[in-house]
Amino acid sequence: MRVAAFLVAAFCACIQAGEIPLAERRSGYEFMGRETRAMQDDDTTNPALFALQDGEALWNRRDREQSCASCHGDATASMKGVAARYPAIVGGKPINLEQRINACRLEHQHAPAFAYESKELLALTAYVGRQSRGMPIAIEANDATRPHIEAGRALYERREGQLNLACSQCHDDNWGKLLAGSPIPQGHATGYPIYRLEWQGMGSLERRVRNCMIGVRAEPYAYGSLEYVQLELYLMWRARGMKLETPAVRP
């Protein structure tokens, strides 16, 4: 009993002032209109479905000697739960799902890596992510992840750009209020890659963060940079326990 109380206290010590209390967290889904939510919910008309079909085709495609299926078999079984625990720590460094897929391509399939934001990489990450839809995001703070989560948190709370704004100022302190007529969501990475109505296409979390950074007139990080993945890790940890919605639809 005492051990449990101590563990609870230690866990709570990770949550700092300004953060949204766990029970008050809401997915971006809840800030959208009824019709946009319907777009996400209906599998037959979700505009991301083409990316899922492309992803399935790529999963089974033999580029050189092997396809993903050659080792991983049926994705609906082997990939279940995978996206919910990414970014993961490999060799002391955080890597995201896109990097994991490219690492597999290079090392095991002897095939060239897909470019960031390419149709293929988005399709594969959407397809793999889809297998974890509905599952709780499972990032935990442990000795391996903690330094990177803290680095990500520092990036999240740091003011940047000509507008000198930090992510936390909108998404922790002012969520729910309107910015230029649109509601500010809490910024949880629960559904990536998403079909964004603004893009009229699929995009990754990095692309979405890039949009925000350009919005505050900051120089965006390079795709696949350590900063991005640390930020992703922090965002996924921040959304721990929330359901993965990949592929989500967002305005």
Binding site: M32, G33, R34, E35, T36, A38, M39, P47, A180, G181, S182, L197, E198, W199, Q200, R210, N211, I214, P251
Partner: protein, 156 residues
């Protein structure tokens, strides 16, 4: 040597001469309104368009103008004697007024069509139904758009 004044005059001249003039046109709203009226007259001719029978379902506050779910349903028995021949959808503030025209008949069973539209600016969306008896009926919804389609560069 090109003086600064001459350079600016040249630049403005090129700007005004091109298609950009159309986008900077101070009368652009009047032109769009005229285009909408012309599009509607092309469909209905001189016939009056009455409000009623048509239900246009579009969110009044739009998440993003680039993809707006729209549904039109017309109250009609859809029999051989009395049915909807066509459903026309227009917007008021887009660069061009047409969205879709659906051609149907008694075999549709129900006079309904759903799609996803691009809406550039706060304004009206208009649905006009053409009935087999030659009459026209419409429904209009005013929508608020904060993130617009077509007019902003979504290339990031």
């Amino acid at each position: 040597m090109t003086t600064r004044r001459r350079f600016l005059a040249l630049a403005c001249g090129t700007l005004a001469a091109g298609e950009l003039r159309a986008q900077l046109d101070p009368n652009i709203q009047a032109k769009r309104k005229a285009a909408l009226e012309a599009a509607i007259s092309k469909v209905v001719g001189d016939a009056p368009v009455r409000a009623g029978k048509v239900k246009l379902d579009v969110p009044p506050l739009i998440d993003n103008g680039n993809t707006v779910p729209i549904s039109v349903t017309v109250d009609s028995p859809m029999s051989a004697a009395s049915h909807v021949k066509a459903i026309h959808l227009f917007t008021e503030k887009n660069p061009q007024p047409y969205v879709i025209t659906a051609h149907l008949g008694p075999r549709a069973g129900r006079a309904t069509v759903s799609t996803r539209a691009r809406i550039a600016d706060t304004g009206r969306v208009i649905a006009i139904a053409e009935l087999s008896d030659g009459t026209y009926w419409s429904d209009t919804v005013s929508v608020v758009v904060t993130l617009s389609a077509c007019l902003e560069d979504g290339l990031i």
